[in-house]
Symmetry: C2
Subunit: 342 residues, 2 copies
Amino acid sequence: MEKIAVDVMGADFSPREEVLGAVEAVKEWNIPVVLVGDQNAILPILKETGNDRNPLIEVRHTTEVIGMDEHPARAFIKKPKASVALGASLVKEGLCGALVAPGSTGAAVTAGLFKIGRIPGVERPAILTPLPNEKGNTTYLIDSGASANPKVQTYLQNAMLGYAYAVKAAHIKHPKIGLLNIGAEHTKGSQLVTEAFELLSKQKTIPFAGNAEGRDVLTGAFDVIVTDGFTGNVVLKFGESTGHFFEVLLKETIEKGGAAAKIGALLLKSALKRYFLKRVDYAERGGAPLLGIQKGLVICHGASKAKAIKNAVRQAENICEADMTDMIINTMKELEDSYHLR
Amino acid sequence: MEKIAVDVMGADFSPREEVLGAVEAVKEWNIPVVLVGDQNAILPILKETGNDRNPLIEVRHTTEVIGMDEHPARAFIKKPKASVALGASLVKEGLCGALVAPGSTGAAVTAGLFKIGRIPGVERPAILTPLPNEKGNTTYLIDSGASANPKVQTYLQNAMLGYAYAVKAAHIKHPKIGLLNIGAEHTKGSQLVTEAFELLSKQKTIPFAGNAEGRDVLTGAFDVIVTDGFTGNVVLKFGESTGHFFEVLLKETIEKGGAAAKIGALLLKSALKRYFLKRVDYAERGGAPLLGIQKGLVICHGASKAKAIKNAVRQAENICEADMTDMIINTMKELEDSYHLR
């Protein structure tokens, strides 16, 4: 197995939750990790868990960090030894197979772009976010925030990257790939997305299943939902907030509902934790891979706890094993040769 | 009170639910209505409810209807006597103060644009959708689907229309108006939305509270969320689907959770209906007004039942009473004079 670099700095609960999560991934799946960050903060946590001499855990020391409120590109230039940059360098140099990066999404994308580097031909990398769906499996939203100014080709590229991930990493043989739009008919949508529909319909390399509306994201009718980074980011953040919204409403309902409601809620509680919350908890899925770069990079929520980091490390290892790069290059070549689509 | 025209054709449960909903609005609030549609279908329902001689209920007969699967503009030309066109004409001619239009959103927008007509200076009308928020009141999303190809000015115009509605119809004295974007900082977002941010920040006529992220839509931190019709429509449809998603998950949870979970759910059920569902049910709010036209038009969900129609009739009456037109014209004039923003 390839080593996974974990940036343990710069997120809400750094470095503690990152270190604990990485340790759990080592224990559960024997995945070797390199913890990138302040060794004076990391070593006590390793000691505490009895892992200070675990041969599967290395530490790469740095004290520089890019905060979530910093301008990513500017901070990146100012802090060449920032943990996220150092982690990406380990991947670039081949010492690690992938990087897990919690905290600033912008800093992670910048590190992916400028340290690990794009796959030749990919114009902009895209973030793929796994979402739970009604069928009990996963729908992948791409792009959920890497690039906010799409061109028509961006949609084709995102479809191609999502396709490669679905087949190689998620092992879906014939993924259903939909274009996020405001109507099911091909004439619907903004001019840009209507043109993207035409482009996707014309080519035959990537299987294209037509338009998906906002209401189709969670049904499981599509395996991959293709969109731009602006729309995708709005949908993702809105979706995350609905959980909290329903929680607030449920608490009020129990409050107002009297004794019956309170006893009912108590009786239901353990099942809710075991089944309901497990399904909607992003920590169960880990993070969101940045696709279109030469190696793996999994971006995690700034508020990630150990469980999310643990699962992100496994996701990162899975991306190493999937090795999508060849498929992406071949798919691009086929699109280019047959349809002059670049 | 002004009469409200109700298009009773062309939606999922037409004409029955439209007629029943209108009748309820008459009974509850004495709002006079004009039912537009096939009298041979309408009259038996009125008779059944003992309202065939109710002086507050008129019928305007037509059998032509624009279906939800038809191309709105084309159908509009082909069917000049379609119920939605006839209803809009009643409003245009001053016989009714506003139109309630369930079914095809495209047909309703077309009727608003070409029959009722824009307020001079408004480039494109916008759909305002009331959404429930965590604070227990309403956040208004504008535009939720009228125009999918925004220019920078579109955001300013939508902010202006949302502001007028918030003040005049929703009676919010100092509404907080946010711009839907992918970050809180002013540098974040697509080029278009970043420019819209600058434009909104520069003017001082409309109160502008800065960027709102997807996660801020349901918190109640903003009264009005300004966006384009593409993003707004995706958010709206996605939001509607989350209710169903959580319902599916809850059913599975109860199924898997054994006896305790089943009894718990039974005990909680009546409180859920009374408090939780009441808050998320769009039928409680009615429909989504089309703003920027000379008179009122409330667009309703194609699947509207009587309760939604009833509340939409009240909403329509409320819009008549609010009379936003002067405020919209004055606000536009002020923006134009002071900031040359047209």
